[in-house]
């Protein structure tokens, strides 16, 4: 996830600082407050801020003077000037000198939150714009996918061919290989590209919740259903729905899904009226569905409905030539997100990254690079940053003799958990999987925390 937007408040009145900062904290921002322009300027050199809220009247340096100083080094910093005594003159002056907005204290809560949202959105779009422009020129790129690998290039070609038809596609690949990005690329190449792309993770919800998410429900159809809610299929109308982790859905939902694929109609929970939907279905799984058919957990008829075209994404360890390319892309992206200017990975660190087996695939690589860019003290990522993530784990095989993938996974998961004091969120992030998957692995391998 991107870091929280960070806001600086500069006001000489303590009560303003505390009440505004606690309100903004509830809104999920990172907030720092300063009582004078001088202290604010010092802090600007040390930390990156996305927005400043500055009081107009302060002893010493006033709000407009502070703004002038800030704009010298940070011309794009959005600044909101706050004042208790608004006059048209000062307002005009503030805006002329580059304030984003001029608000009178006390603020109307709706006004201040809309103003801040507007600034954040604008900044996001600007960042995205810079990023996208650079990306456009890139070779080996297919939408958000990058690869020099022959098999991947074939997949890109296949996507172009099948995208314009409405056939169902089943994407198979290990966790973190970019199944959703493939699905997005198919959508973006298709005639449906201007309509919604709706991703649904089938594993993260319970059966009933997933059913209601997919098909919607009528008002009063169950406790808590206080309004009619449209399901994802209806929202994806004339667009694409992406059903991730399809191998995890219950037999009942498998049947419901099969019916939707056959009739192209959905029925909301609590209703008997079929609603026609025009949706392209792309499904993905990291499981072997044929095995599911054999042991009776996956319907064969649904499998054949979904598996009209199969895209099999190779794991990262089978395409090491992509590792440097992906690292370049990731460093550039994280630099933009964090304001850092990391240039590259040192040679010995790169050697280690090339050797590593990447059980979490590209998502794990992404996490390692994100972490390393943030931690990097110089503009080069070294073994110091990479080592703790992949170092000793990749060098020390699980147990001599047992080099099966399963045993490697078990020891890798256990090592990462131990290293992070069994913090599930952090460990899941480092492993490049979601928390639910990590819990499943803990259960599967019977892992326990040392007491």
């Amino acid at each position: 996830m991107a870091r929280k937007p960070s806001i600086m408040i500069v006001d000489d009145e303590e009560i303003v600082r505390t009440s505004l900062s606690s309100w903004l904290l509830e809104d999920g921002y990172d907030v720092l407050t300063f009582e004078s322009g001088k202290l604010a300027l010092e802090a600007l050199g040390k930390k990156q801020f996305d927005l400043m809220l500055v009081d107009l009247k302060m002893p010493g340096m006033d709000g407009l003077e502070l703004m002038k100083e800030v704009k010298k080094s940070l011309p794009d910093m959005p600044i909101i000037i706050m004042t208790a005594y608004a006059t048209v003159d000062t307002a005009v002056k503030a805006i002329k000198e580059g304030a984003f907005d001029y608000l009178m204290k006390p603020f109307d809560p709706e006004e201040i939150s809309l103003t801040i949202k507007k600034i954040m959105k604008q900044q996001m779009l600007e960042q995205e714009n810079v990023y996208l422009r650079k990306e456009l020129a890139k070779q080996f790129q297919f939408h958000q996918l990058y690869s020099k690998n022959k098999k991947m290039q074939e997949i890109f070609e296949l996507i172009k061919t099948v995208a314009t038809t409405d056939v169902t596609v089943l994407i198979h690949g290990e966790t973190g290989t970019g199944k959703e990005l493939i699905a997005r690329a198919i959508h973006a190449e298709s005639l449906r590209k201007d309509r919604p792309f709706i991703p649904v993770s089938c594993a993260s919800l319970t059966e009933t919740l997933l059913e209601s998410e997919l098909f919607g429900h009528e008002k009063g159809s169950f406790t808590g259903a206080s309004n009619m809610v449209k399901g994802m299929f209806e929202m994806a109308d004339r667009g694409t729905i992406f059903l991730d982790e399809i191998g995890d859905i219950s037999p009942k939902l498998q049947m419901d899904l099969l019916r939707v694929l056959e009739t192209k109609e959905i029925v909301r929970i609590g209703s008997a009226v079929p609603i026609p939907v025009d949706v392209r279905v792309i499904a993905a799984t990291n499981k072997d569905l044929r095995k599911g058919i054999e042991n009776g957990t996956f319907r064969e008829d649904l499998f054949y409905r979904l598996n009209v075209i199969t895209v099999d994404i190779p794991p990262l360890r089978e395409k090491p030539e992509d590792i440097p390319l992906l690292i370049d892309q990731l460093i550039e992206k994280v630099n933009i997100e964090t304001g850092k200017s990391v240039k590259r990975v040192s040679e010995d660190a790169m050697a280690l990254l090339m050797q590593y087996r990447w059980p979490g695939n590209i998502r794990e690589l992404k996490n390692v690079i994100e972490r390393s860019v943030v931690l990097a003290k110089e503009d080069i990522i070294t073994l110091n940053e990479i080592g703790p993530c992949v170092g000793h784990i990749s060098r020390a095989p699980a147990a001599a003799g047992d080099l099966s993938l399963e045993s490697m996974e078990r020891s890798h998961v256990a090592a990462v958990l131990k290293q992070n004091n069994w913090n599930i969120s952090t460990s899941a992030q480092i492993l490049g999987i979601d928390r639910t998957t990590l819990y499943k692995k803990i259960k599967k391998y019977n892992l326990e925390q040392d007491k």
């Binding site: 904290l25 809104d27 206080s226």
Partner: protein, 158 residues
């Protein structure tokens, strides 16, 4: 949430919370007086008041909570249809009050605002906004609340 709820006897709004010029009560001060009279058995305490609340930098607030704390306060003043010169509607009022109580409780569980419009943790500064969201957390936020509850269960027993 499957947690027993008890209604405590009413307490007076503290005098020092009233701002005579603004004719409103400073919510942080009421919150403080709730915190001072907390029942040690209660995991969370939510005060409900009919007076209009503010914090100094804002013209009004619907409520306030201790982020990742134990207490919260919600005002019903601006949740009533009458406030906007409309016909009273008890059911709608109760629904809004419930949503705001859930919202502030969410903050006491450490949740911040949610981008999803239907999630009760979505920030709403107007009743229109309150009416738009559901009286329920989104799945991610339910997960977080569930995690917090489990932690509490471990710390205090059931």
């Amino acid at each position: 949430m499957n947690i027993p709820v008890r209604v405590l006897p009413p307490i007076k709004n503290p005098v020092e919370a009233l701002d005579r010029d603004r004719k409103q009560y400073y919510s942080t001060r009421i919150l403080r007086s709730i915190v001072n009279s907390l029942d040690p058995d209660a995991l969370r305490t939510v005060g409900i008041t009919d007076v209009d609340l503010f914090i100094p930098i804002l013209t009004y607030v619907f409520g306030e909570a201790q982020l990742d704390g134990t207490a919260a306060i919600v005002s019903g003043a601006r949740l009533r249809q009458e406030y906007y010169g409309l016909k009273p509607d008890r059911r709608l009022y109760a629904e809004r009050l419930f949503k705001e109580v859930m919202h502030e409780l969410g903050h006491t569980f450490g949740l911040t605002h949610c981008d999803l419009e239907h999630c009760v943790m979505h920030l709403s500064n107007t009743v229109a906004g309150v009416d738009k969201k559901r009286a329920d957390f989104c799945t991610n936020h339910w997960d977080e609340v569930g995690k917090k509850l489990k932690e509490l269960e471990r710390a205090y027993g059931t």
